[in-house]
Symmetry: D2
């Protein structure tokens, strides 16, 4: 609905007899990153084959024969969030290509900002695309490369694509992983005790298959895993670390660790920082919006000394085929997904902690839910700064028009959602709470949603983005220093790194 | 797996133009009470028709035409847990019968203890049963009754069935609800502001459809709702309130209120009481087993002053078609459903709060999970007494052989699950925490799982139950007073009601 | 559509290790007798279990696990035509009943004429029915019988039901087959060379499983097959052979033999007889309506010396999920199912042979099809008499209103279907062509559709039937002798047996 | 099994408000040309969209929403036979491509003989293929063309592909159809009376949608249909008509007319010619193998004066999900698909007419079937010459190893199939019976299966073909003149045209 959607999750295994099964379990723990499609391709060293379909992983492999048929020691897999209009089997990954000289499987997390122009240029030169997915672009770049080896051709391709991304590429000879020059999207290497490797979008997937964490693949790097072990190299000429702050704030699972920082811990610390910056001393209790805001809420409660209560219950059985209530029933009070616990909240002054406000409609609905259940006051506390700017690096919010904070002032938002008070965490507070401490702008975080400062540039999106800036966005940009230019280069010395 | 399973949830609507849709949403909020089958029957005042199938509600009605086809102002619905061997469409409720003189739909929550003997007697007299479900029995009793009205025949039938149960019965003229003579299973009446009524197994379902709570249907009562409004009467000669304690401890949703007591509040209070009875002063943090033990864990944390942390993460996408990992992969460390958060628990002394220990295998697995993730110590605290005796009133634990506490002493259980310490909440502590305060044995709770004291008697189960008592169970029974006899009658003055 | 539909086909195997598989193949060859549902129940001597669902046999068992799961040496199966309004899984056979003392599976071909009154009487005495199918009635009769053995109880039940029927009944101890007192519906016994028996609605099913024909089960008989072999007995007090003429004319497969007469041979002879009774000397060719009328057409061609041509082609891929063209497209000429071969029929005078005219709409459409394709003349020849009276013994034409010949004279029908000439085979001609030669009315055929003479009586249908007789029907009845009364007894000496 | 399989059928509509529905019905009548996959793409003049899947047409569109969603006035569709190993959704047509400047849908019937070399050359130049289908090749050729218009680019592409083929290509502006330079595969233009056009693989599809025949698209021609009407041009430099004889002998529906010759009429004439060339004077009856040989059998019967009987019955319900009997059951006599009619054939001398013998296993099985049913003698008569050479133009027999006549002499084949006698129609007899009478080798027929004379050349298949010639094939080639060389050019004056 009005929540954010991550584009994808990737997972790969090299050298394990149950490669497809492990990929299934790894992808399963990444299901929160994409619920509209899934697929797995395996290699037995001689031949690649795969299965993919629309739906949750467990639906795609509902017939266990599909998984059983995927025998081989190597595998890559993908879960996917389908962007508007592209909900077609064509776009489900991994893509599998059979050339006369080699077979290649490829999958991708994130979003390219120059895919459209690359694609048009390729088409003008005779390329035939079969999907509408950005992922296909790099395959064409690789095949048209004059480089003498597949690895060199891959590097050439990686240097041409811009944005926030990770790739997994598998041939019968090797498994490759690659990360964009800012490290916006995470990719982690794990190792099985008995040998064999795993690559995944989050550490939770490494844990779930019983592998041990080895290292992150960092900004601008790629990894090759083959019969000789693994080797990590940098393909990008220049790199500037800028890990997506939204991975910590909202997307990643609380049990994952990104760039050395545990997600639950970062969220809990954000909640404490929020309680420090924006206390609510007269409140009776703290309630978090399940499930992504519970860590921050418990941090807020702990710092503030207020009791932490379960005032909202999330219905866990709302699946894809769930029939939404018609407008008339919604107006009459039929509520799915979230229920307020009347006997907990009745007559109480509540601190409601949420991770972010995007369109504002969800927050408005939750405040209303609590007040309908008898809450005396609802003080909304958001564990991240105002969401002011669209995202083009793999989050499904690419239009300023969708962002309430790009159109309304802080006070107007408070009025709109009908809260008794509203506070956002400061940018500095968020950066400190996460505590990445890289020697880079924003301590190494990608915080473009809060600042309009795009570390990987805008490219194909620039024209439309600039044409649609709202007065609030223009004012923000005019009064805050920017560290990156439109091609994503660091364009000035950054001095405001929080100490 | 090794968790408890409730048999069913029921929901009914009388006089609302979207009766089937509301039943769908009501059942949806009761999905935790049964995930193996679902069905809805509607009446338009002239004709009953229905749809039912195996699977989650959203699967049963995955084709929205099935719901759209159910037009009518009255409806009853059912979600069901399929007991072993009976996983057949035949047994999915509501049952719908078309007689020459009347059509009747019926559904049922709970379990009868004299169904087998009633059924055999009916078969000897020529009855033909089509399901293996207890629910069908009362239909035969009603049809063979010589009573002059349907309501009288229903009352006759209700007087013959023994156990813990609620029934919903619908004809084109009226909707009936009935509760067993101990009120073991809950049934609640709600009302729409614009008119029309709703009956449900839990108040969360009343809330979710935007209706207002009216009252509980109490022990031994039935309700008739028809064009003249509603009327509640008692059918049972004698009643002794004994509300299932396990509804508070484990089954019900935290936002439901049973017999006036909110479930989350009862659980949180149990957690506080547990912290008082069994402190763990040197621990670093409190962790609850998601999702049913989070309330108790936060209570324990609040009372003890320890931080409440998210050390276990539950994977929310484990559905029916999920492919379980083979033994070899499990041994290698592949873990689904629950993950421990390494960066939270590593090196820490943990209080692990859970609601109950049934077979012990789950507890053992979770302790192992935490220690594998680096936990220094795991102190297990259970927010209910030892689960000593089987249940025959609608919980899927009817064999003493399944209960670890019936076979092992407290210390042996601690060793088995490999905890650094183990404590159970006292019976008195549980009774006080729930705080029902009825003038009845155990303050009006049904605590047979902890005491072997069966308020509705044993009937068909008696012989097998007695033949399989373990020494631990025998010792318990010999040293604790019992208030009910084998037919469920109060057989001695109860004096140990906790003050 | 406007064609006749048979109610069902039955098949059973006793003592073969692949009982379920053989039943699958046997039912498959009987698929023409019912396409809306199918099921198989097996016994391994200890336990009965089954699978059944809506759809073609290959759809019901599309998942081969369903068939593989049916292990056992004995089996019965059923294919079914779903009558209006009863298209529900409840009614798919075989029915499987588990009683405390015995399990019973039962399936049924044909139709009872006193089911409604039996059912009401049973319900008044407390019986609970679960299906709307007639088949369930006999199960209640058996269970309420006071007879000392199952076989005696079955006989008591058989004596109470009236109509045209065959039953298969299976317990863990024996397989029973039974035929109505007129032998209206066929049931055949076959034997495997290596031992074991088979019962089937048609001999084609005996052939298809590689068994040898043993004998027909005759009017009023039942068979018991058990570990001692088989035994055939008569249960009916009086029997009068009256084999359904429509089995020869339309329903049965041409490769089946009923009561000793091959169906193709009977049809070809009917065609020859038709050519003799109603020649068309100036015609250029003979065309049959595929597929049921091809035998008669080739007989007509052979007798008349005219060439037999393929002027109509039937589309063999019209399945259940086929999307029918909307009215606008039909008017524009979109034609499914049957196509006329323009280059064959253009400018030609055609003899069109069909097996029967029921509503007249199909005949009208085919004549139109041929003329649109350029046929100069279409002379319709029907290889059976005028279809004047409804059928109540297992054919889906139970309303006089549906029968064009009950409402229009011969000349009016010819005009309605726009034929250049029209002729029907005489009743005598049909009886002679089939050549059954039993010493019974109509030589032992059931020809009620042509004569209104119902060998098994009318019972529950009588009142409505009499109230709706058309003038044409009344005239026919007034001018032709009737041999059976309303209870199906032979009420006068029959003398008009064709010699 | 051992029968021949045609690759595909195509159908297109230009300018009709029910374009998708008509394409559905058109494809339905072409279902015999391909049963493994189907698809439809529509255009509303602005946008192309489609649906395709594995299975029969009625399965692909089982959910009617899929067809309803295809709104637009133009459409193309495809039914497909899946060649070994390529049974994947990727290969289901029509293919739909969205380029930055244009969208294109394309589908294809037949087989290219130079696809592999074209594909490799394209891949070496950077092309990325997504399917294993030949159809994709021409899209790449078109996109890489430097021609100034789409039509010119299409012509360039057509000139590069070799083999037997028809293409349908649709953009938002026009519908194109094209036929190979020999006209091996048919493509027919039809017209709706109210305006609008249709293109189809067979005339039966034109008839079925109520359109009128306009003309064949001939060898080396293409057609453009757009808002200005239609225009037919020749793209090939040189053309030599060579219509596939197997379309007449086996593939096409009897009600279709190819190159002016009705298929049923050609078959019946072949049967008469066969009776003339190879009489069986002592036989009792003629039986055809259903369904493709019934026309020839009736011709044989008519010429010989023997009765034409239905001695074999085909089971019409054998679908894709049908479970085949295991070997043990087959040996025991379980027979699906075809049944012999015992009461017809017992003791009789039979002429069995079939259209062709490919592997010989089917013929052997049918002879056995008839003898098992009691036939005294079986004289096999084949209504085409010996099938000596593989086919590369769209029939699924591309290995000499599969052809019994390439390995066994006439007498050995007779012995192998256990016939009492065997005869094949002569090549001259077949050519005369079809009666095409073009001034070209073999009167304008493509008879490569009987002669090894490949009118469209061999290209990529040549090396393997020559390496695997059997002695019988070599002898034939050495003793018979060949008219075409390996590139498909006419290489010598043909003089043996039958008069």
């Amino acid at each position: 609905m009005s929540r954010l959607n991550e584009e994808c999750g990737v997972f790969g295994v090299w050298q394990h007899e149950s490669a497809a099964q492990l990929t299934y379990y790894g992808l399963h723990s990444l299901q929160h990153r994409g619920q509209e499609g899934a697929g797995i391709v395996v290699s037995n060293g001689k031949r690649l084959k795969g299965h993919r379909d629309l739906g949750l992983l467990s639906e795609v492999f509902a017939n266990p024969n599909h998984l059983d048929a995927l025998s081989g020691q190597h595998a890559i897999g993908h879960v996917r969030y389908a962007t508007e209009g592209s909900n077609s089997l064509h776009n489900i990954q991994p893509f599998l290509f059979h050339f006369y000289d080699r077979s290649v499987a490829i999958c991708h997390n994130g979003n390219l900002v120059n895919a459209r122009s690359l694609r048009r240029e390729l088409e003008i030169n005779g390329a035939v695309f079969h999907s509408t997915s950005d992922t296909e672009v790099i395959m064409h770049l690789i095949r048209r490369s004059q480089a003498s080896t597949f690895e060199e051709a891959l590097k050439e391709g990686l240097r041409q694509v811009k944005g926030g991304f990770t790739y997994l590429v598998m041939t019968n000879e090797a498994l490759y992983g690659a990360v964009d020059p800012n490290g916006i999207r995470p990719l982690i290497l794990g190792k099985f005790r008995q040998g064999g490797y795993v690559l995944a979008s989050e550490t939770c997937a490494i844990d779930v298959v019983g592998a041990d964490f080895v290292c992150d693949i960092c900004a601008g790097e790629y990894i090759v895993i083959d019969k000789n072990g693994y080797r990590i190299e940098r393909y990008a000429d220049s790199v500037t670390p800028a890990v997506s702050a939204m991975e910590y704030v909202y997307f990643a699972r609380p049990d994952s660790t990104i760039a050395g920082i545990n997600v639950h811990a970062a969220r809990k610390q954000s909640g404490k920082q929020l309680a420090k910056e924006a206390p609510a001393p007269e409140a009776d209790m703290v309630i978090g919006v399940p499930n992504s805001s519970l860590s921050a809420a418990s941090g807020y409660a702990e710092y503030s000394g207020l009791p932490y209560e379960m005032g909202l219950v999330k219905n866990q059985y709302v699946g894809r085929t769930f029939i939404q209530p018609a407008q008339a029933l919604r107006e009459q009070g039929v509520r799915m997904k979230l229920s307020a616990v009347r006997d907990i909240v009745k007559g109480k002054k509540i601190v409601l902690v949420d991770d972010s406000i995007v369109r504002g409609t969800t927050s408005k609905r939750i405040v209303r839910l609590l007040k309908d259940a008898g809450a005396a006051e609802v003080h909304v506390r958001i564990a991240s700064p105002e969401f002011l700017f669209p995202c083009f690096y793999g989050i499904d919010v690419s239009q300023s028009a969708e962002l309430i904070s790009a159109h309304k002032t802080f006070e107007e938002v408070c009025t709109y959602i009908d809260a008794d008070s509203l506070a956002f965490l400061s940018l500095e507070g968020l950066i400190q709470s996460i505590g990445l401490n890289e020697d880079a702008p924003y301590s190494g975080l990608c915080v473009e949603s809060f600042t309009g400062d795009y570390p990987a540039g805008l490219y194909d999106y620039e024209q439309n983005y600039l044409a649609n800036l709202t007065p609030i966005q223009q004012t923000y940009l005019a009064t805050h220093p920017q560290f990156f230019n439109k091609e994503g280069q660091v364009c000035q010395t950054h001095t405001n790194k929080p100490e």
